[in-house]
Symmetry: C2
Subunit: 193 residues, 2 copies
């Protein structure tokens, strides 16, 4: 069966879904093909270098999705603090809806493959870069200096990502909302500069 | 070859080391046996239920180690802020020393197996509980109310854990030190109560 372009996206989406739930090593090529509904030939057509190249595409795709979500929240909310609160509520809601099986779509893959796999690490760096840039801009608009905004953006991204893991283990969205809300409150009272 | 008790610890230590570097699914029983130096029979003797029960023991052992490290830092440092700074420097140093291959010893396993595997999730919850309790106590000693100390402890644990992932992807300890230092600075100026 000849590969058709329309199958690339379903393959990547299936990979994102499976990697976030069961990790890279725990997901077989057949699982991805089955979940995507694409013919097996299309997988080899689009990803001739195999599963690691699917991981790169999955990290890129998931990174874009997270950045889009954050950019939307940044437009909708006045301050970095309100953005954090909204992001926390959104993530906690998604986690609850998935029975706490989802989480950050790229964390597991990154932990399994970075820093060993350079292409996956590079895709991960870009995904982080996009999130950090959105937060940095918002923090600068809040009155923090560019240097301070850059540093605080690292803390914001880390706090949410770490809380997603705790939330998954505890089968509760509380950790995500708590981390986001406490960080938001401190950002509001932190001395500017 | 008969199994001897002395082999249990090397098996668990090898599992912690391998799981943190390459994940649970990416680690075979033979890898664990080879790395531990234990005879294969001892692995089946101590862990008759297989690899998942080794994961439980590895999460328990790694959780104890992290709690011990934190308890030591809590004794050595005056405030939760100083504890966070010291923890950040320590983690960043460990990451650099391992060529950024290490990281939180339990995160990858938890993401791969929780919440599906109840025993692993439960071991993860206990590991989190120990860290949170140490921070909670330190934050309460800093003058935060018990309820606030509990909430802030979630943020502290999340921030460091999330930063470890970013650090691994970026092959740099900067994210860990930045997240820890910025959180410490905000804890120092945050209104008590």
């Amino acid at each position: 069966m000849p590969a058709v372009p329309k199958h690339r996206t379903p393959i990547i989406n299936a990979a994102v879904r499976l990697f976030r739930r069961q990790g890279f090593a725990g997901t077989g090529l057949n699982d991805i093909v089955d979940a995507s509904g694409a013919p097996k030939g299309s997988l080899y057509h689009y990803f001739p270098e195999g599963k690691a190249s699917i991981a790169v595409a999955a990290v890129e795709e998931a990174g874009l999705r997270v950045a889009e979500t954050m950019a939307k929240l940044a437009r909708e909310h006045r301050s970095a603090a309100d953005l954090m609160r909204a992001h926390g509520r959104l993530y906690a809601g998604w986690m609850r809806k998935s029975g706490f099986r989802d989480g950050c779509p790229i964390t597991t893959v990154l932990l399994e493959l970075a820093p060993r796999n350079r292409a996956v690490s590079e895709a991960g760096r870009k995904a982080y870069g996009a999130r950090l840039a959105i937060l940095r801009e918002k923090l600068a608009a809040d009155g923090f200096s560019p240097a301070r905004a850059e540093r605080l953006s690292v803390l914001c991204v880390s706090a949410l990502q770490g809380a997603l893991i705790q939330s998954r283990v505890e089968r509760s969205g509380a950790a995500i909302e708590t981390a986001a809300d406490e960080l938001a409150a401190m950002l509001e009272t932190a001395p500017r500069g």
